[in-house]
């Protein structure tokens, strides 16, 4: 922007200087031409009733101020050519004032000045017209010199303004860079006010930035508090319903009542699973927006998660076997990564048949660490694998099993945030295979 305006001003400057100078040069030549013509007129006298002109040497020599210049003149009396160059073009002259015109004569550009005066002679009024002309070579040379000077001025101005602009920009940009640097060096949750020293012109910017961060911090903690509170208020009544339902189930005798209570428990389980997923989903959105970067020992994390799932897998007589566990370090948010692994294993334990095995492998290839979870359950419906990752979409093979469609979506979000991905495939044979791939 600055460049363009500076260039524009420079060009304007050049044009202005150029045209003014041209005008002045033109005017000086014209003045000399006029002076020459008038001096010739002045030398005309009426002697004994006749006009006599004593052409002064100075009249023409004053035209010789520039080298290589050729001068011409023509004197006419009463429209009759008297002396000089007869074919010098006539221009419309004025009485007692000088007219000027640029034209060509003898193949060159000339400037003609013309004026006339009337004299009283014995024969009446005589009109004496003087034309003086000069080639424009000199003028053109002057103009060329002026042109060079004015373009030098223009260019000089342009360069100077560039230098000044850069100096100003630097002195503004350097503190901005420092400010940007100090803000970007912060950790993901650091929303404390900026302390870097800034020039007074930038103080309003810094103060707005600080107040923005304070508002953001408040908003985030309000959201976190809201989620925690919501979690509590939703889950407590559900816990009461479920527990009482379990109690009732033991007490009912009629089969139809028993089935009804079982249905209730299933419904509560489905709601609470969905509620849990929704809360997880909100929490994951937070944390992926501003991903923490810590070192995670992936193999240990998997071991921890499997150990925690042990009681549940035992309940269903599902054996979790860790087949390969390569030592792996990755960068990311340990809470999110554990959430992802837990979701996948949870799914595997839920959808596989009783009395079966789940195999887990952790290995490296193509610059990724892959966690593969094989189960011996129903597998995925081939046609639906892409849809499964979309929110609330549940596969055909999930009928009859409590669950919510959010689980895999959450895992997908977590994987993407870490620069990885989740792949769902079916095992040759039976069961499903879920692969989580993290970049190394």
């Amino acid at each position: 922007m600055l460049l363009i305006s500076a260039a524009g001003i420079a060009i304007l400057l050049y044009v202005v200087v150029q045209s003014v100078a041209e005008q002045i040069a033109q005017e000086s030549q014209d003045n000399i031409l006029a002076a020459s013509a008038i001096s010739i007129l002045d030398s005309a006298r009426v002697v004994e009733g006749d006009i006599s002109i004593d052409l002064p040497y100075s009249s023409l020599s004053m035209l010789d101020s520039v080298t290589d210049e050729r001068a011409f003149y023509a004197i006419r009396l009463n429209d009759e050519f008297l002396s000089g160059y007869p074919d010098l073009p006539r221009i419309a002259a004025q009485k007692d004032t000088t007219a000027f015109q640029s034209t060509t004569y003898l193949g060159e550009e000339v400037r003609i000045a013309s004026t006339w005066r009337s004299f009283s002679t014995l024969e009446g009024q005589a009109y004496l017209e003087i034309s003086v002309a000069q080639t424009l070579t000199g003028l053109n040379l002057s103009i060329a010199r002026i042109s060079r000077i004015s373009s030098a001025i223009g260019l000089g101005f342009f360069l100077l303004s560039m230098v000044v602009a850069m100096v100003i920009a630097q002195s503004t940009i350097r503190p901005l860079h420092r400010l940007t640097g100090s803000v970007s060096r912060r950790g993901p949750s650091d929303l404390s006010p900026v302390a870097a020293p800034v020039p007074t012109e930038m103080a309003p910017l810094v103060s707005s930035l600080n107040s923005l961060m304070t508002r953001l911090q408040k908003s985030l903690s309000r959201s976190e508090d809201f989620i925690a509170e919501a979690a509590h208020r939703v889950r407590t009544p559900m816990a009461i319903v479920r527990t009482q339902a379990e109690v009732t189930l033991r007490r009912v005798e009629k089969e139809e009542n028993r089935l009804a209570v079982r249905e209730m428990i299933r419904a509560v389980d489905e709601s609470s699973r969905t509620a849990g997923q929704l809360l997880d989903h909100a929490m994951v959105s937070f944390r992926t927006d501003d991903l923490a970067r810590e070192t995670i020992q992936l193999d240990e994390l998997i071991l921890d998660t499997v150990n925690r799932l042990h009681p549940i897998s035992e309940l269903r007589d599902v054996e979790i076997r860790i087949q390969t566990l390569t030592r792996t370090k990755i960068q990311g948010d340990p809470i999110l990564v554990q959430n992802a692994i837990q979701n996948v294993l949870d799914n595997a334990v839920k959808y596989t048949f009783s009395d079966t095995k789940i195999a887990i492998m952790l290995d490296h290839s193509d610059g990724y660490a892959h966690i593969r979870v094989h189960d011996e359950g129903r597998g995925f419906d081939e046609t639906e694998i892409d849809q499964l990752l979309r929110r609330f979409e549940r596969g055909k093979n999930a009928d009859g099993i409590v669950g919510s469609g959010l689980g895999l979506t959450i895992v997908d979000d977590i994987m993407r945030a870490h620069g990885g991905h989740i792949i769902l495939t079916n095992n040759a044979g039976e069961g499903a295979c879920v692969t989580l791939s993290f970049p190394l």
């Binding site: 816990a239 379990e246 028993r258 849990g276 042990h310 309940l315």
Partner: protein, 221 residues
């Protein structure tokens, strides 16, 4: 088992106590931290169930104090908070395990068992009945000197019987106890497991008898 339940929500506490009592457990209830400290000072518990959000303080302070007191009683935290971000803190502070509400009591039972098993020097939890000895923690059945290791479903089924000997259990009830609510299991499965238990019990004076049209019961000849 003897539980201490530390939970401030009255309705939930009542429900949990009722549910645990159905399995012949004894439950003391503290609605706040002060009461909880009173209880732990005066009685011994097998397990403490702790709600992490309490009116007079975070359950975390209980955990910290509990650990610094070097108490042997395992604590399972019950939390309604968003699971993931609290998890790390809870286990680091000394909880033995945690569960997210609403609780599946079969899962709670399984976690209690796991937690108690991990305790070193835990009191022997064997029940004698007739000629057999049953250790619910170790999941072993000692019949005439030979020890049999029970698998999970066999163990849970046997526990139902041994906690109420001579009581008749219909197949449907046993189904509820053995299988989670989201699985449609057939009553056939019960027959299979009862069959396995019968095999383990053969040679002793304890058996599972079929009461035609009513169900099964464990009795001692």
């Amino acid at each position: 088992m003897r539980f201490l339940l530390i939970e401030d929500n009255q309705a939930l506490a009542k429900a949990v106590i009722e549910r645990l009592s159905l399995d012949s457990h004894i439950v003391d209830h503290a609605a706040d931290l002060t009461t909880a400290w009173d209880y732990t000072a005066t009685a011994e518990y097998d397990l403490i169930l702790l709600d992490i959000m309490l009116p007079d303080g975070d359950g975390r302070s209980f955990l910290e104090q509990h650990r610094s007191d070097k108490s042997r009683t395992p604590v399972i935290v019950l939390t309604a908070r968003s699971e993931v971000s609290d998890r790390v803190g809870i286990l680091d502070l000394g909880a033995d395990d945690y569960m997210v509400k609403p609780i599946d009591f079969s899962e709670l039972e399984a976690r209690c068992r796991a937690v108690l098993r991990r305790q070193t020097g835990a009191a022997q939890n064997t029940i004698s009945f007739g000629e057999i000895e049953f250790d619910s923690l170790a999941a072993t059945l000692r019949v005439n000197g030979t020890e049999v290791q029970l698998r999970t479903k066999e163990l849970r089924l046997f526990e139902v019987f041994i906690n109420a000997p001579n009581q008749i259990f219909p197949k449907s009830q046993l189904l509820d106890r053995l299988f989670s609510y989201d699985v449609e299991a057939s009553e056939n499965a019960i027959e299979v497991y009862v069959g396995r238990l019968r095999k383990h019990l053969s040679g002793s004076n304890v058996s599972i008898t079929t009461v035609r049209g009513l169900g099964y019961k464990l009795e001692c000849q």
